[in-house]
Amino acid sequence: MVQDNGKEQTLALKLRVWRQRRGQPGAFEEHSLAAVPTSASFLEMMDMLNEQLIKEGKDTFAFDHDCREGICGMCSMTINGMPHGPIPGVTTCQLHMRNFRDGETITVEPWRARAFPVLKDLAVDRSAFDKVIQSGGFITVRTGSAPEANNIPVPKPVADEAMDAAECIGCGACVASCKNGSAMLFVGAKINHLNILPQGQAERDRRTLAMVKTMDEAGFGNCTNYGECQAHCPKSITLDVIAKLNRDYLRARVKEFFSSTGKPSKGGD
């Protein structure tokens, strides 16, 4: 925490915040906010703004948030053009106001992507991600009694790689930062997480084809290797997951194309 002679530093800010009702066009609204402690998180700053609005008898800004510790992925805000703000590798809830200057104008917007329609103000509908997960982001297990933990050996490097991919919190910053509105980093992370583990093998090809299909149908764009997603992902997921998604997709398509029907062909040799 930044301390100044025992007294905490504060900031006076100009805020340009997006105001929108569902299905209607939106616009920026300007507000001044004084005495923001530098130790406050960005969401706490937004709370201060909303309290000020309530006192003024005005409508508050809707924004998504839940855990406020960087693990749920709800806090979707594009701050000065950057999803999750100026510090790489952190979520909006982990972003502290000490990263801003006194007197600064801060622009706050929702995720911008056709697949993520605005619900209200800064809150967007990310159910397109849920649909992608529902189409293949699972494994089949025997339920009822707990299996013996070490029945299936998982090599340490594989476990590490799967855990790296599993770090994805499904926030959608990759889509918001991508100039194509592509969800490849998210889908790549989810597919990799399961496709490389022994437990994920049974559905491997089906999962890859189904999740990619659902992703395309949801209206996300196509990856053209800008790399913006990796640079804005709060969990620093790398483009490796996209390369591996492409590889698994090609593999699944080739296997599907040459799959056996189990019957001899009619005619021919």
């Binding site: 053009g81 991508c178 764009g221 196509n222 290797n225 790399g227 640079a231 996209i242 492409n246």
Partner: protein, 203 residues
């Protein structure tokens, strides 16, 4: 995109190498051109593959650009860019200029209907080439187009590896370097010819 791009990127290497025969003198280049025309069957196979690749590449490219623009929904008011390269962000634009170049280039040297002053040159490809590049604006257009081709290839060639899933963080920088080197070799190889004519090294 990757398959057609790969075919086109391979073609420019072959074409560039063939063109460099010009530095071995008129005989070498003209014999090479004659050899090509004598193997009409082979030439037409190559031409068909190229024509299909060019059209498919452009068609998918336009589709991609339109879909991606729609998916972004306008983007943020002040969009920040952290690492997307200039080459990656200008692919449709460099591509369109290269398309314009290909059309001009075919009219220039294959159909020989523009900028050659009505002279046909027969089988003397060498003479035709010198005449073509003695025209300064034409030579300049070739040079600028080749620089844009360099930009296009520098992103395109490295993207091929990603599309095929043959890339990771360890190899990313090396493959980007490889693509950049390839792009510059192609561009400088092509540019050396109009430049040599302009500076009087080739007559």
């Amino acid at each position: 995109m990757a398959l057609t791009g790969l075919i086109l990127a391979g073609f420019v290497l072959g074409h560039m190498t063939g063109n460099l025969l010009v530095f071995k003198g008129p005989a070498a280049l003209n014999e090479y051109a004659k050899w090509l025309h004598e193997h009409a069957g082979l030439l037409w196979v190559a031409r068909s593959v190229l024509i299909i690749s060019v059209f498919a590449h452009i068609w998918v490219g336009i589709q991609l650009a339109l879909e991606n623009r729609a998916a972004r929904d306008g983007g943020p008011a002040d969009d920040a860019t952290r690492r997307a390269s200039v080459a990656s962000r200008t692919m449709p634009y460099s591509g369109v200029v290269i398309l314009g170049f290909i059309v001009f280039h075919l009219l220039h040297y294959t159909f020989r209907t523009v900028a050659l002053g009505g002279v046909t040159y027969g089988d003397d490809v060498y003479k035709m080439l010198i005449a073509g590049f003695s025209n300064k604006p034409v030579a300049a257009f070739y040079i600028i187009s080749m620089l844009l081709l360099c930009l296009h290839l520098s992103h395109g060639v490295s993207s091929v590896f990603q599309t095929l899933g043959l890339r990771n963080e360890r190899w990313r920088a090396r493959l980007d370097g490889l693509a950049l080197a390839y792009a510059w070799i192609i561009a400088l190889g092509f540019i050396s010819i109009p430049l040599a004519v302009l500076t009087g090294c080739l007559k």
